[in-house]
Amino acid sequence: MAAEIAVERRIDSSKRRLIVEAAIVLAIALFFILVVPLLLSDFRLNLMGRFLALAIVALGIDLIWGFTGLLSLGHGIFFTLGGYAIAMYIKLQIPESASSRLPEFMSLYGVTELPWFWKPFYSFPFTALAVVLIPGILAGLLGYVIFRNRIRGVYFSILTQAATIIFFNFFNGQQKLFNGTNGLTDFQTIFGAKVNSPGTQYTFYILTIIVLVFAYALCRWLTSGRFGRLLVAIRDDESRVRFTGYDPTGFKVLVFAISGALAGLSGAFFTLQTGIISPNSMNIAFSIEMVIWVAVGGRASLVGAILGALVVNFAKSLLSEKFPDIWLFFQGGLFLLVVMFLPDGIIGWLRTRGKDLFRAATGRKRIMTYPSLEEDPEVEYERKNLGD
């Protein structure tokens, strides 16, 4: 009986915590939508929008790496595919007055008829699905082949890198189909509105935030509950999971597919706000950067992934404006610093050392003991009831 009441109470309190969390997330989202635009110039606001879009792929990386322990160095592929999908839709919004019914680069390379796979991108619903499904399905297939054969650890990372190179070379080489190395750019209109006008850009900014909130909610749902705990179990001891009767393959494929789909979304919103997508974002370096954001923010923490993407990218844009030559060194240094001194990233630091500093500042002292004592309910009970 007592046990049941305890269970009920735990459910109640976790429900309340969930409501509080949802309220906080909404408040932050509203702050970004309503207040931040007043504080930043149009230029900075556009950057903020881009970085918020990048935060979506950071969530994806966190899901597959932070929680499931699979270091993917190929998310650039999924990101870029999402970007190309939306860009192809916009490139087909050709004004009536134009001389050619084809995107301008095609006539340049002597293409006379629209390639068949471009045609579905006349439809916006198809494009919207393609942004999510093409990268998601590709990741699922790739993951299925890799995980079924029990390829793990560093071999998985290498394979994802190899895939990146293949896709990069493919897109880079297809002038007639994708405008090769220049990528798709020079966007004109979307739904009749000018893509580059401040109003449209502000709409993209708001949409990015809404999608980011949904992505966060999705990841939060996946990583809490039994499914999320199983991901952690796979990360920590995969063969134990097998002997408990679970087949890790399906779980890993699903998470990799979701992670790829998030990357696709991210790429689409990033493309809308940068006005260009090119094979460059399939560079291995970019995929590695994504991992760095998550490492800096804090692995296995969703808030950390978002924070990491924003902090690193803002640092990047500020530093590369001031000292264009040293940004890369700084990024390398930052990564080394995090690995050596903040193994759990910014969030990890806040949870441990930061909490202590806060306590010290507010005058609430705390006895330092072994963590096992801190968590041991018997010790805590004695401490409370028998005094120090």
Binding site: E4, S239, T244, G245, D247, D376
Partner: protein, 263 residues
């Protein structure tokens, strides 16, 4: 004679020509608690690897409840009702004991039911009871990496039980435990043997004496050297020989535990 839950016929496993198991025959009755002993390198762990599907036999077959296990992979065999406890406790250190048990207790282990199905109340109650049994009720919600070695061992046994397997494979459950914990573990295993078939692999002879009610199997160089009651086995000159590694004076009985100590 009751039904056989596990039958192993002419089992050979070779790794690059080295025969870890050599023409091994073994069978276990439903509801039996069997202890397997043997010197280091006798093939005890390989034996468990074969049953659980981690390693596939080179020759011979393993039948569990009459079914040949060769085509099945680890998770399928686990779902059929074979639970395994590892030598070093393997629990998920970043999860709490309660979460560890929840994962093991889940009846529907495919992707979508794990994602969408809410754990039923009955399951939660089972877990509450199990936490009491393994003495972790008060530590149910702290991370498992803060538990002591003995507590982890117990948690893993709890996970095994939560899986509700028909056959429990337990690899050295008392390695690194205090005498008192060893005693309690023995009692736990004996009480579990009332409702499960169990194979225990163990080095600690005192512990074997405590739990071995029936047959004890001695493995040596990948085959069964002898089987019998603990006292018989203990005084079998062949057993003493493999434990000591040389001929012994057959007129002078040697305590096997002494032999194990000298190992």
């Amino acid at each position: 004679m009751s039904e056989k839950i596990l039958e192993i016929e002419n089992l050979t496993v070779s790794f690059d020509g080295f025969k870890a198991l050599n023409n091994l025959n073994f069978s276990l009755n439903t509801g039996e608690l069997r202890v397997i002993i043997g010197p280091n390198g006798a093939g005890k762990t390989t034996f468990l690897d074969i049953i659980t599907g981690k390693t596939k036999p080179t020759e011979g077959n393993v039948r569990f409840k009459g079914k040949n296990l060769r085509p099945y992979s680890e998770h399928q065999i686990a779902r059929m009702g074979v639970g395994r406890k590892f030598q070093t406790p393997r629990v998920y250190l970043n999860l709490t004991p309660r979460e560890n048990l929840e994962l093991a207790c889940n009846r529907f282990k495919n992707v979508f039911s794990t994602l969408f199905r809410k754990p039923p109340t009955a399951e939660r109650r089972t877990i509450g009871g199990l936490l009491e049994t393994i003495g972790l009720a008060r530590k149910a919600d702290m991370k498992a990496n803060l538990l002591s070695h003995g507590e982890k061992q117990w948690l893993e046994i709890g996970m095994l039980v939560a899986q509700s397997p028909d056959l429990l494979l337990v690899d050295e459950p008392v390695a690194g435990l205090t005498d008192e914990e060893t005693e309690l573990t023995g009692e736990l295993l004996v009480s579990l043997s009332k409702s499960h078939s169990i194979i225990v692999i163990e080095h600690d002879m005192e512990f074997v004496r405590q739990i071995a009610q029936g047959q004890v199997t001695v493995l040596h160089q990948g085959s069964v050297l002898c089987e019998g009651h603990f006292d018989e086995v203990q005084s079998d000159p062949r057993v003493i020989e493999v434990y000591l590694g040389h001929e012994v004076d057959h007129d002078q009985p040697i305590d096997l535990q002494q032999a194990a100590l000298q190992e």
